[in-house]
């Protein structure tokens, strides 16, 4: 029941918000925040109950749903999904808190924010393909409206691009799911993720095609180069709360798909595909960093840095060694904390105060608003992978784990760190240093903003010094996964 409660409480909250009078915006905001904090409490309860020395699914909740089609309502967690659920449970309330300055169509906004949460938790909890796909789509619609209604100037274009991209990807994936369902050779047929991973007996050709169909769905979501161009537009136009969720949580649905579905279910295809995947990963790392360096719009720069960072995850997934998988998973977690913080600082704090996203029109934040400057600098250093903060261990273990398999790529990726450091340093020079300009950030951080930034900063620091806290969660399941893939 714990997991079901975690899953449906936000949806229930969203429905309740719908009954609030439109004008009671303060109450709506507070209520949404409280509702979104309940899953966090439940996540802590789940944490206490899980045994992370075991690789398998725990706290399984199962009910027959449509028995004639082999569809079940099945939820469960393990060390792979739990860290992502935990990140979501931290980031989602903070995204709501960050959105307290929304004044336009407040009620609708928070309804969508809460509905979105159920979609997100559902994706990470569902262990039935049918159920999973519903949540995967459910998470798409609220984000479409959040970008399309509350976004910036080109919000409609961005929302549409985001929607079509993801929808086309997931439509292809749906075909893959159906092919898996019909082609698994199991009697009776089932959508059960675990059963299919263990027992599906696909012909090699079919395995290839199904793998590619899944790839289409998840590659867009991650996003993997060259399917990434929806992301900068979506991020730039989305309201800050939306960007935080998009970067911190939604992108991880894509990489989660690799960990949960693609690698365990299609190990042979995955192994055959791994050089391609690694190539796309390394291109993503370097290309994303170069594109970030070229940006004049600070929010777009952060968006491209996400493309670059997700490249690490892809490279780690492709290498398939236990250490590389650990590193990739860690980047999932660390990027899930750092990128919302970054979007919060550049979107909610700097953009709201200056009215511009163009770096050449900014300057002197260190002088005019020292706390804003300090937190932004902290975030930039975390994002560029400073050892001691959470950005580093994931990169390091990804590279270290991939080194025996893709030596040349790791060397190229490491050299890419110079580009990564470069665009962060250049950003800080233009935005934080120098003389305060006409559009300068005048007001320093206020209490609500501190409340958003502080928890993320604390976790980024904690995981940077003690990455074992996270690694110990998924060490065991990833070791099993690597063994299944025949990695080292």
């Amino acid at each position: 029941m714990l997991l079901s409660a975690l899953l449906f409480i936000p949806l229930l909250g969203g429905l309740l918000v719908a009954f609030f009078p439109k004008e009671r915006t303060r109450e709506i905001k507070s209520f949404a925040l409280i509702v979104s904090l309940i899953p966090l409490a439940l996540v802590l309860a789940v944490w206490r109950q899980l045994d992370f020395s075991l690789p398998g699914i725990q706290l399984l909740e199962r009910a027959e749903w449509i028995p004639s089609l082999g569809i079940t309502y099945q939820l469960g967690v393990d060390g792979i999904s739990f860290p992502l659920i935990a990140v979501a449970a931290v980031v989602l309330p903070l995204a709501i808190l960050a959105s307290f300055n929304i004044e336009h169509r407040v009620k609708e906004f928070f309804v969508w924010m809460l509905v979105l949460q159920t979609g997100i938790y559902g994706v990470f909890l569902a262990l039935d393909y049918f159920l999973f796909f519903i949540f995967f789509e459910v998470s798409l619609v609220p984000m479409y409206f959040i970008i399309g209604i509350w976004g910036g100037e080109r919000r409609e274009y961005a929302a549409m691009k985001f929607f079509i991209y993801t929808l086309v990807g997931s439509a292809i994936m749906l075909v893959g799911i159906l092919a898996l369902y019909f082609g698994s050779g199991l009697e009776p047929r089932t959508f059960d993720v675990l059963v299919l991973a263990e027992q599906a007996n696909l012909s090699p050709t079919l395995q290839w095609w199904v793998f590619l169909a899944f790839f289409a769905g998840f590659a867009v979501k991650v996003p993997i180069f060259p399917f990434h161009t929806w992301l900068p537009d979506a991020h730039v136009e989305a309201p800050t709360g939306g960007s935080m969720i998009l970067a911190g949580v939604l992108l991880k649905m894509g990489t989660y798909g690799f960990f949960r579905f693609m690698l365990p279910t299609f190990p042979d295809a995955a192994k055959a595909f791994s050089p391609v995947l690694a190539t796309l990963g390394i291109i993503g790392i370097v290309y994303g960093a170069l594109a970030a360096m070229a940006q004049k719009d600070v929010k777009k720069m952060v968006a491209y840095s996400s493309v670059s960072h997700m490249g690490y995850v892809v490279l780690g997934l492709a290498a398939m060694t236990p250490m590389a998988l650990n590193g990739a998973m860690f980047v999932n977690v660390s990027h899930g904390l750092i990128s919302p913080l970054f979007f919060f600082m550049v979107g909610n704090v700097i953009y709201e105060r200056t009215g511009t996203r163009m770096m050449d029109q900014m300057g002197g934040v260190f002088s005019s608003a020292p706390l804003v400057g300090a937190v932004t600098a902290f975030t930039a250093f975390a994002n560029l992978g400073l050892p001691g903060l959470a950005g580093f261990p994931g990169e390091f273990f990804t590279f270290a784990g991939a080194f025996p398999v893709f030596t040349a790529f790791v060397i190229i990726g490491a050299l890419g760190l110079a580009v990564t450091a470069g665009y962060h340093l250049w950003m800080m020079q233009r935005v934080l240093m120098g003389q305060p300009v006409a559009l300068a950030v005048q007001k320093d951080l206020v209490g609500r903003e501190v409340l958003v930034a502080a928890p993320l900063m604390a976790l980024v620091l904690l995981l940077g010094v003690l990455p074992g806290i996270a690694l110990n969660l998924f060490n065991e399941p990833l070791a099993v996964l690597a063994a299944r893939l025949g990695g080292m």
Partner: protein, 648 residues
């Protein structure tokens, strides 16, 4: 062993100090109190270091003080602190000299509006530097390594509103990122080969590892060392780093942080010694930097830039020492250099304040008459650097140069002697221009310029008769004393450090004889020859400089081509800008302006247009009927499902 937790205090107290000061600055606490807090934290860290050192002494020669902390969740990777011969030696200098410079800063920075922020950052630096030298493995060292870089970045850019400071900070961090890439890749190779990153696991095994692995690791680590220690060819950030406040230049960019590369090479010496290319590469970098730094210093006119290139050159001597296996001598020179170079920078701070912020030594002169205290302390620092007996630099530098000869590398030895002559020349030039001759006011008067200019010059020199405040004086006095007697300290040795026992069990390589060369200095004829030569070239170099730039200096003429090139640092900056920075920017611009919008998004839009022409439904989607589209898709899915269900 029971008091190993004292190790935590060494980085812990300055970190706590930094946090408290930062919080206090936000809460507008009393400025002097916050400065005192910063000084106290570092002083207590120094006391803790002394206590750890005493424990180590009790455990020596084969013991050490170890405090394991946390695993990182992967075998062989984690954090801990180690107090042994090398790390306590470094930590003593870092916290000791660090404390003195904190004191000095309390006076030097007193008028700055961001006074508390300065101490928060300075304390943070001491924290990071302590982590760097006390870590018990490469991961901890890397954390310290990167965070001293952050501290350096924040302090070079302390006056962040100045564009030059912002640019210098960025450059310093970026160049060091290039070095860090080397360290990270080196750590990756080590983790793969040795299955661990703890010194105690890696270094003893190093003697038995395959040569190509060792070569790779040694060169990768050296890349990091070269960047951090401002050695050829990654030295370009150091002269610009002088944009930071002068105490920062003294502490970070002279005495401590820039020697981190030396620490790394000495710490990982089993790797460098076992790798065929290891030590030769280190020695090459060292001697190259000795000569390059000294030559470039000749052409500098900014007092701090002279000292910056001098630092590059002197750290080059340390690298040379490590590269010929004279590790003890390298460690020794690190300590003595920390004393006299910190002294020189703090003295330069006094000089700069005296001349009202002027840093061009051509516009200075005659300070000896009005400021005897500054004169004598700076002179002792200069002579210690030049290496005149019995001052500190004499012992440590000679130990290195003798070490080169003992290691059977006469060419390195000869070049190191030449470097000593150049050192004497550029230092005496600096000293003569600043302290001898006429003061600018007198000079202006003598040139027959109007009384108004003379008055203006005198105005600029206000306070010249004001005595140096005690907070500045105490550190200068202590550092002067250390520059005099520092040469009599016992040289550190490497017994008991990770990997030493295994190394000693192997046939003792010739490098180990070199390590003790310092002790037999006066007994060997090679040493006598070296000392005589070094003294001779120093006297000649210094004498020439005095003759040319001393009280009877000739009127300044146009600079020769060589001096101009030296002044421009031999155009390394232009080279890097043309070869790396511009192409990188251009590539990024190409990706951002061409590939991304036109190629990739262009292809996507092309597909969309194609689809639009093929299907009316898609066109409706593009005009905004997205909900209908979603519904249609779900309906389609349902139809497919039902079809399959019915058919099967």
């Amino acid at each position: 062993m029971e008091y190993n937790w004292l190790l935590i205090l060494i980085p812990g107290l300055p970190l706590l100090g930094a946090a408290l000061i930062a919080a206090g600055a936000q809460g507008r606490w009393n400025r002097s109190f916050l400065a005192a807090l910063g000084c106290t934290a570092v002083f207590l860290a120094f006391v803790a270091t002394v206590l750890v050192r005493l424990q180590y002494n009790a455990a020596a020669p084969f013991g050490s003080v170890h405090m394991p902390l946390w695993s990182w969740g992967v075998d062989g990777v984690g954090l801990g602190l180690l107090g042994d011969s090398i790390s306590t030696w470094f930590a003593l200098v870092v916290t000791g000299v660090g404390f003195l410079i904190h004191l000095y800063s309390a006076a030097y920075m007193a008028d700055d509006p961001s006074y508390p922020r300065f101490f928060a950052k300075l304390n943070f630096f001491i924290f990071a530097m302590s982590v760097l030298v006390l870590a018990d493995g490469f991961v901890g060292m890397l954390i310290g390594w990167a965070n001293v870089g952050v501290a350096s970045y924040l302090l070079i850019g302390f006056w962040h509103a100045r564009p030059a400071a912002a640019a210098a900070a960025k450059k310093a961090y970026w160049v060091n990122t290039v070095g860090e890439i080397g360290l990270i890749l080196g750590a990756i190779v080590m983790l793969q080969h040795f299955g661990s990153l703890y010194f105690a696991d890696v270094l003893p095994q190093a003697w038995f590892a395959p040569q190509n692995v060792l070569n790779a690791v040694a060169l990768l680590l050296l890349a990091g060392a070269v960047a951090k220690s401002a050695q050829l060819p990654l030295h370009v950030w150091l002269p610009d780093a002088m944009q930071g406040p002068t105490p920062v230049s003294a502490l970070i960019h002279a005495a401590t942080m820039v020697t981190a590369g030396v620490y790394l090479v000495v710490r990982a010496y089993p790797i460098f010694e076992a790798a065929p290319w290891g030590l030769p590469a280190v020695a090459l970098v060292g001697i190259g930097s000795v000569l390059f730094g000294a030559l470039a210093a000749l052409g500098q006119n900014d007092i701090k830039r002279v000292l910056a290139f001098s630092t590059m050159s002197q750290v080059g001597y340390m690298m040379l020492g490590a590269g010929v296996g004279a590790y003890s001598a390298a460690l020794f020179h690190f300590a003595t250099h920390a004393f006299f170079k910190a002294l020189l920078f703090l003295g330069a701070g006094v000089v700069i304040h005296r001349f009202g912020g002027e840093q061009d030594i051509r516009k200075m002169g005659g300070l000896g008459k009005s400021h005897p205290f500054a004169y004598w302390t700076f002179l002792i620092g200069t002579l210690a650097l030049v290496g005149l007996p019995p001052l500190a630099g004499f012992y440590s530098k000679d130990a290195i140069v003798v070490g080169a000869l003992m290691a059977g590398r006469p060419w390195l030895w000869a070049l190191a002697v030449v470097g000593a002559g150049l050192t004497a020349f550029y230092m005496m030039r600096l000293f003569a221009l600043v302290f001898t001759g006429d003061s600018p006011e007198v000079a202006a008067f003598q040139r027959g310029e109007g009384a108004r200019q003379a008055a203006a010059a005198a105005e600029a020199g206000v306070g010249r008769s004001r005595p140096v405040p005690p907070l500045k004086m105490v550190p200068l006095v202590v550092l002067t004393l250390l520059s005099i007697v520092g040469g009599f300290f016992a040289m550190p040795d490497l017994s008991g450090v990770p990997g030493a026992a295994e190394g000693a069990r192997l046939a003792a390589p010739p490098a180990h004889e070199a390590a003790v060369a310092g002790r037999v200095l006066t007994e060997s004829s090679a040493a006598t020859l070296t000392i005589a030569l070094l003294l001779a070239v120093s006297v000649i170099g210094g004498g020439l400089a005095l003759q040319r730039f001393g009280p009877k200096r000739a009127p300044q003429t146009a600079e020769s081509g060589f001096v101009k090139a030296a002044g421009a640092g031999f155009y390394f900056d232009d080279f890097y800008r043309a070869v790396f920075v511009r192409p990188l920017r251009a590539t990024a611009g190409f990706v951002g302006d061409v590939t991304e919008p036109h190629v990739i998004d262009g292809a996507v839009n092309g597909v969309a247009r194609l689809a639009a022409t093929l299907s009316g439904a898609v066109r409706r989607v593009q005009s905004g009927y997205v909900r209908r589209y979603a519904l249609a898709l779900m309906a389609g899915v349902a139809v497919v499902l039902i079809y399959f269900v019915l058919m099967v």
